[in-house]
Each structure stands twice: as structure tokens, then as C-alpha cells.
């Protein structure tokens, strides 16, 4: 859906998406890195389980909700990637305790 422009010379940052290594770039938000990864990163909603991807990328729609380093319901579009970050695509509601 998206690809990186060749002029992007930012250093790589490795994150893990559902345990699989994904190359992101320093300064990417988690959501941008997921959308650039060409993996299936659709979450499913808490209400009906419908598949969703980020919609607004600016912190207002909450369709980018994702589990980051064990904490659920994070807005992926507001969190910058960090080396070794563990991202899990959230299916349904946030689980109690994480």
C-alpha cells in the first residue's frame, strides 16, 4: 500500500511484529512502520471483530490501537519505534493485565 521514498536516509530500527523482525526507520511511528512493512497488520475491533487499519494517523480515530511491549490499546500513530520493540496486532479488546 505504501513504499519508502529513496531519499529516506534515516537509520534502520528493528522491531518485532507478532515475533517477526520488521525493519523500521528511526522516527517512524509504530503505525507508519506497520503500514510500510507490507505485512498483514489489520487489527480487529472490540465490538464486532471487523478488520481495521489506521485511519487518521494523527491521534484522533483510535483505529491504530496495538499492543506495544506488552501494553494493550496503545495508539500506534503516536508512539515512535525503538530498537527491539515488541508489537502485537491487537485482536479484539485489550486483555486484562496487559
Amino acid at each position: 500500500m505504501f513504499r519508502r521514498s529513496e531519499q529516506d536516509k534515516r537509520p534502520q530500527v528493528q522491531i518485532f511484529v507478532d515475533g517477526v523482525a520488521v525493519a523500521a526507520r528511526q522516527g517512524d511511528t509504530v503505525s507508519a512502520a506497520l503500514l510500510a512493512s507490507s505485512r498483514d497488520v489489520r487489527r480487529s475491533t472490540a465490538v464486532s471483530g471487523a478488520p481495521r487499519l489506521p485511519y487518521c494517523m494523527m491521534g484522533v480515530c483510535f483505529d491504530c490501537l496495538v499492543t506495544i511491549d506488552g501494553v494493550g490499546n496503545r495508539q500506534g500513530c503516536l508512539v515512535p519505534v525503538a530498537e527491539g520493540m515488541q508489537v502485537e496486532i491487537q485482536k479484539g479488546k485489550r486483555e486484562i493485565g496487559r
Binding site: R4, D8, T29, L35, V47, P51
Partner: protein, 472 residues
């Protein structure tokens, strides 16, 4: 840059580091007031100057000169004594000017003598059938990714809607080598006539020549369909096609990405939760705060600058930021105001920056059928409530958005009405033959962004707080 605030009290707290907030914080600090700027994003710029200090797009002409103006604002701010905290989500502001802000999973509390809200705008909801499907995003979302991560669409891409941002985004995508298959222009033909009386002011504003050359640049490379009157997206778990009607003829085109845009509206959540009076704006079709000429709201000590004060664009936002800050300086340290640009000069700057706005608002006024959906089209994305659900609730007695919450939970999901509020107000107004002003809006309350109970529980408490709730 993401630590807790250094003080408990500030003269001025500015919320939002877009054009208005950057200008307001720099002005306030320059006059010697203790100033704190809180911003939710990773770096300064807000939306229009998104990633201004970090963008990987190094070819300056690709983002355009209007974007790089933001770098000067950031430089002025950094040269000032203002304290700046990013990744700071303000979740409460009240009449006493007490502010609660979440930073790195912990909440901090600060008190201000003056608050300048510069929380900007968000894109107007575009509730067409299929707007929740994976592969459908806002134009602003694509622009955010382009500016902050140099990402461009490379699948079959359709852009639909209307307004200046749509053309700017299309030009930027093309300049960065991205793909656009078709642009579907939903501007109503009758708007051109309605806008005509306001054309003179626009023709003599800087927007005119820039806008025209950008549209030419895009039209030379992309097929543009104008007069689009119907729009929907279809999927197989992911967007597969876009269907539209133009000139009475339906067409279906395969697509991997649909970018929607029909203008921007003030992001009212924090201001409304602080009890700032808002009124329905019949021209801009949104809620705008009631403000005096310096941006002061109905709540003493709270001013609003930038697009949150009513849509005026980036140039106007910068000036409104300076005006609101100057007004705060005049109130708190009158002698220091002499250092700043005189109010009369700022008001002249603002009039200049707002020139041509009425023309744009009239020309790009979104059509009712793209604002007020019907049938199974989702209205509330969070709680997955359709237009029919809302109308059924009205039929059995729901009178306004707040009653509707009890019937359908609209506006009670994590986005707190940001993506459905305007639609719900207009849909209910139409169904009940009332004005949007009469129908009203959601009663918004803190926390205006979700925070965890653990974070709330970890908030420092006084002995009196504990006694108030603990038994025996």
C-alpha cells in the same frame, strides 16, 4: 524532552505545538512569562508542519515553501525560554486552569494563570459506505506518513473529496514518485456560483495562484473526475474497489488505497470539556468556540488560537497564536508587552491571512449527502453504529447526542466522538427538523483521552483525598 514539567505553576501553558502553539509559546516566553508548551506528538509542527524538525524528505521543493515556514517558528521557540514537552497528552483542563497531563504513562499536574489552547483541527468525518475498511484512510493520514516517514502510496490509489489539502497532498505524492490512479472531486457544481460573490478577495489572496498552479500540476498527471455525487468502497476484508457516480453514470474502479478528504473542523474536545462555550457555524458546518478578538473564550483565562478557534489555515493560526499570547502578556505583565509586536499590527496581519477564506469555505462546503449518511453506513466507527441505528433511536425517543449514548453508545468509544460527533448532530437535526445548534453536541468530560485506571490510581493523594473515600 519527555520528562515531567519542571514547575507546578506557570504563567502560560500552551497546549499543542502546531503553528498557533509554536507562535504563542515563543511570544509568551519572549515577554518573560514562565511558559510551558505541551504537545502530544513526537516533535513540533502539529499537522501542517508535521515532522518539520525531522522529516526525511530532504528535497525542499517537494513539500513546498509553505511547509518550511514551520522551521522558522520552531527556531524561534527553541531560542526562547519556553519549556517544551512532547509526547505529553493533556487529559484534563478545568475552570481553575488546573491541567492534568499524561507523560510516559504517568500523570503530572500543573496550574496556569493563562491557558492557550492550540489543539488545531481534524479532518471532517467522511461517512460513506465502506469508510471503515482497511485501505481507506484520510488524505491527512497519507500526508502525515509522507512528511514524517517519506512514505508514498504505491498500490492502486484513489483520492476522493474536495478542498485545498486534497490538491496539495496529490501534488506532494506525485513529486515524491508515488502513485495516484484517479482523483474523484466531490465539489458540488452549485458551490461555484455560491462562491462567486466572494471571489475577489480570494483572487487577491496568495492562495489563488498557488492553488491554481498546484491543480494544474496534478491534472497534468492524473485523471480527475469532477461532479462526483456518490461514493462507496467495497472489500474482501481489505479494500478492493471504489464505486462512484459522476454525471449520472456509475463507475467501479479497482483500488488498494482510498484517501478521503472533505475539509477540516476544529478539534473541540479539550475546550468543550473545560466548559468553553461553542456555537454551530453555519458556513463552516462545525462547532466553533465563542471568542473575543484576542481569542479569549467564555472561561476566564482560557484562550483559543489556531484552527481550534475556527478554521483559518496555517498563516492565520500563527497570527492568532501571537495575538492570544500578547493578550496574556498584557494581562499578566503589561510592561513586557512593549517588547512585542503591537496588537494593531497583529490584527492587520490576521485580516491579511484570513483573506479569501469565505470563498474557500463556500466553494468547498461539503454536500449534505457526504455529511449525512443513510442506511447501513457506519456513523460511529468505535461502537460500529449505523445511520439506520441512529434514526431508529430517534424514532423511539432519542432527542439529542447525549440521549443517543444511552440507546447506542455513540461517541462513547475511545475516540470520544471525534469521528462521529458532527455526523450525529447533523443526522439527528435532519431527522428531528431542528437546527444543529438546537440539537447540540456530546457533553464532553475529562479524561478527554483514555488513560489507564492504574495511571489514575498512581496519582499523588493528600490525606484529605484519602479520608474522603476510605471507610473507618
Amino acid at each position: 524532552m519527555t520528562g515531567a514539567p519542571k514547575r507546578e505553576d506557570y504563567d502560560v501553558v500552551v497546549i499543542g505545538a502546531g503553528p498557533a502553539g509554536l507562535a504563542a509559546a515563543a511570544t509568551s516566553a519572549e515577554a518573560g512569562l514562565t511558559t510551558l508548551l505541551l504537545d502530544e506528538n513526537i516533535g513540533p509542527g502539529g499537522q501542517v508542519f508535521r515532522a518539520i524538525a525531522s522529516t526525511p524528505v530532504t528535497e525542499r521543493s517537494q513539500l513546498g515553501a509553505d511547509y518550511w515556514v514551520g522551521a522558522d517558528l520552531v527556531q524561534s521557540l527553541r531560542a526562547s525560554s519556553a519549556e517544551v514537552i512532547h509526547r505529553a497528552t493533556v487529559w484534563s483542563l478545568d475552570r481553575n486552569l488546573d491541567i492534568a497531563v499524561s507523560i510516559g504513562g504517568a500523570s503530572a499536574f500543573v496550574k496556569a494563570k493563562r491557558v492557550i489552547l492550540a489543539t488545531g483541527a481534524l479532518e471532517r468525518p467522511f461517512p460513506i459506505p465502506g469508510w471503515t475498511l482497511p485501505g481507506v484512510m484520510t488524505a491527512g493520514a497519507a500526508q502525515t506518513m509522507l512528511k514524517s516517514s517519506a512514505l508514498v502510496p504505491d498500490g492502486r490509489t484513489v483520492i476522493a473529496g474536495q478542498g485545498p489539502l486534497l490538491w496539495l497532498l496529490a501534488a506532494q505524492i506525485l513529486r515524491l514518485g508515488g502513485r495516484i490512479d484517479r482523483i474523484l472531486d466531490t465539489t458540488e457544481r452549485s458551490n461555484y456560483f455560491a462562491a462567486l460573490p466572494h471571489a475577489f478577495a480570494f483572487l487577491t489572496s496568495p492562495y489563488f495562484t498557488k492553488g491554481l498552479s498546484m491543480m494544474r500540476e496534478v491534472k497534468a498527471k492524473v485523471q480527475v473526475v469532477s461532479g462526483v455525487t456518490e461514493l462507496s468502497a467495497a472489500d474482501d476484508g481489505q479494500l478492493t474497489s471504489v464505486s462512484y457516480v459522476a454525471g449520472g453514470k456509475r463507475e467501479i474502479i479497482p483500488a488498494d488505497l482510498l484517501l478521503l478528504h472533505q475539509g477540516v473542523v476544529p478539534n473541540v474536545n479539550l475546550a468543550m470539556s473545560a466548559d468553553v462555550e461553542h456555537r454551530w457555524d453555519d458556513l463552516q458546518l462545525c462547532w466553533s468556540p465563542v471568542l473575543d478578538a484576542s481569542g479569549n473564550s467564555s472561561v476566564a483565562g482560557i484562550a483559543i488560537a489556531g484552527d481550534g478557534a475556527g478554521i483559518g489555515g496555517a498563516n492565520a493560526a500563527v497570527v492568532r497564536g501571537r495575538i492570544a499570547a500578547r493578550s496574556a502578556v498584557e494581562a499578566l505583565a503589561p510592561a513586557a508587552a512593549a517588547k512585542l509586536a503591537p496588537m494593531a499590527t497583529l490584527r492587520t496581519d490576521l485580516a491579511k491571512a484570513e483573506r479569501g477564506r469565505v470563498f474557500l469555505d463556500t466553494l468547498f462546503r461539503p454536500s449534505p449527502h457526504f455529511r449525512i449518511p443513510a442506511g447501513d453506513t457506519i456513523v460511529c466507527r468505535c461502537e460500529e453504529v449505523t445511520a439506520k441505528d441512529v434514526l431508529d433511536s430517534v424514532a423511539i425517543g432519542a432527542t439529542g447526542p447525549n440521549q443517543l449514548k444511552a440507546y447506542r453508545r455513540t461517541g462513547m468509544g475511545p475516540c470520544q466522538g471525534r469521528l462521529c460527533g458532527l455526523t450525529v448532530t447533523e443526522l439527528m437535526a435532519q431527522a428531528r427538523a431542528k437546527t444543529p445548534q438546537e440539537i447540540g453536541y456530546y457533553r464532553l468530560r475529562a479524561p478527554v483521552k483514555p488513560i489507564t485506571l492504574a495511571e489514575l490510581a498512581a496519582v499523588p493523594k493528600s490525606e484529605a483525598d484519602v479520608k474522603a473515600v476510605v471507610r473507618g
